[in-house]
């Protein structure tokens, strides 16, 4: 489903953010990306839906090249949901309006249909009773679940999660992870940047470890946790699994 081929990304000063990164994400699989901050995880995620412009290599999503000038990037993004660390809900809109905005304006579905769909999704993430509230009235965990519902409202083939639980209070992490586990079990294709190793153990088909813009280790749950080959991965795991 996603084919990442030798991506190179750098900003003006010449410092490389991503260096020769290649990976494949199969349909229906969940790939977890971890690594220290500044290792390029989030940048890689943003390259996948064209929010970041890379200089080398190619990314194909369902066979469509993200950076090909002939690619309709809006249509491509509509097919890729994304969830951010700080939720990024629209504070001046109700929960329902947050979810219906894109379906109404990108997919051009009617307001009634969009609202119906939003309620189903809110039901699915367990906060249907909050539909009429504003994001500021919700807890962090609830806001992030709204953000997930907003992404799902476009019925994407693929969901990207950028540290979805990093900004949450510890007691709220579980409720968000549960939604994500359900999604993964339902067969959604997911790329998740996270340090929640419990989540990775539970649903990841593959774990990628990044450091300094490179993929230094790649493997399934078994090999990644039990026999990490790279020294940096070992150090990282030792710290994070203490």
């Amino acid at each position: 489903m996603i084919e990442i081929r030798n991506i190179g990304l750098w900003y003006r000063k010449g410092q490389k953010i991503l260096d020769n990164v290649s990976a494949t994400v199969g349909e229906g699989s969940t790939v977890v990306i971890c690594g220290p901050s500044g290792s390029g995880k989030s940048s890689l995620l943003r390259c996948i839906n064209g929010l970041e412009t890379f200089q080398e290599g190619e990314i194909l999503v369902n066979g469509i090249s993200v950076q090909n000038p002939n690619t309709n990037i809006y249509r491509l993004r509509a097919n890729i949901g994304m969830v951010f660390q700080h939720f990024e809900l629209y504070p001046h809109m109700t929960v329902t309006e947050n979810i219906t905005l894109a379906p109404m304006h990108v997919l051009k579905i009617s307001k009634t249909r969009a609202r119906q769909k939003a309620m189903e999704l809110l039901e699915r993430v367990g906060i249907a009773d909050q539909a009429a509230k504003y994001p500021g009235q919700l807890s962090g965990g609830q806001q992030q679940r709204v953000a997930i519902a907003r992404g799902l409202a476009m019925e994407p083939a693929l969901m990207l999660f950028d540290e979805p639980t990093s900004a949450l209070d510890p007691e709220m992490i579980q409720e968000v992870l549960e939604v994500m586990v359900d999604l993964a079990r339902d067969g959604m294709t997911m790329v998740v940047v996270t340090h929640e190793m419990g989540f990775a153990r539970e649903v990841a088909d593959e774990i990628i470890f990044m450091d300094h813009g490179r993929i230094v280790e790649k493997g399934n749950v078994q090999t990644f946790f039990n026999h990490p080959e790279n020294e940096r991965t070992q150090q990282f795991l030792a710290r994070i699994l203490r």
Binding site: N49, Y74, R77, N79, L89, L101, A102
Partner: protein, 218 residues
């Protein structure tokens, strides 16, 4: 002192406020509309959008309003081929001029909206103008409302400059009464009071909005 001159001519003079308000409203809405696009241009990463928008803003901010009014009144016919009339040429001058000020206010408002929200909206497949229309501008407008009202008050006062091309707005009418009745002190005191009252009401409204915003944030 003979204050009767004011009561006698009250209707005629206050009648000019109609035109004053009309001009303020047109300058305000037209200036904001054009200003929105200029602000987006000033925030664009595309050089061919950024530079013309910036040049426009810097040019008009360097000119006195009265000169812009003259310009359109005397020079527009040269380009258009026929006179536009005092009212239309003045309104165009106001819209062009005020757009440059509004663009800077709106730019600040747009920048007050977190970039992450724009990114989130982009990620759902929304296009630039839809994002501006539904995500950025509604929030930006709320943040810049006090600054916009302050600018509106300035426009309200500046409409008096339209007298140079012969428009009979409020101050021009006071002035006309004075040429007939020769009662400068009374008449201009009256004019000052009218401007004072209206502008004070505007300022109070801006303060009220500001306080409401502070309260809603807390």
């Amino acid at each position: 002192m003979d204050w009767a001159v004011i009561t006698d001519n009250m209707g005629y003079m206050l009648g000019g406020l109609g035109l004053t308000f009309q001009m303020t409203l047109i300058a305000l809405s037209g200036g904001m509309f054009l200003g929105c696009f200029l602000a987006m241009g000033r925030l664009s990463s595309k050089k061919w959008v950024y530079y013309p928008a910036s040049a426009y803003v810097h040019f008009f901010r360097s000119q006195p309003l009265i000169l812009v009014i003259f310009w359109l009144y005397f020079l527009a016919p040269v380009f258009v081929g026929r006179p536009l009339g005092a009212f239309y040429s003045t309104m165009i001058a106001f819209v062009f001029f005020e757009a440059s000020y509004f663009s800077e206010i709106i730019r600040g408002g747009i920048q007050s909206v977190p970039k992450g929200q724009v990114m989130a909206a982009q990620a759902t497949g929304l296009g630039f103008f839809t994002i501006q229309r539904y995500v950025v501008l509604p929030q930006a407008l709320g943040n810049m409302a006090p600054a916009l009202i302050t600018r509106a008050i300035v426009i309200f006062q500046d409409t008096s400059l339209a007298y140079v091309v012969g428009l009979r707005e409020f101050l021009r009418r006071v002035n006309l009464v004075d040429t007939r009745e020769v009662r400068s002190v009374e008449l201009y005191c009256f004019a000052a009071v009218v401007y004072f009252v209206i502008c004070t009401l505007g300022s109070l409204f801006a303060d009220h909005l500001e306080r409401k915003r502070e309260a809603s944030k807390a």
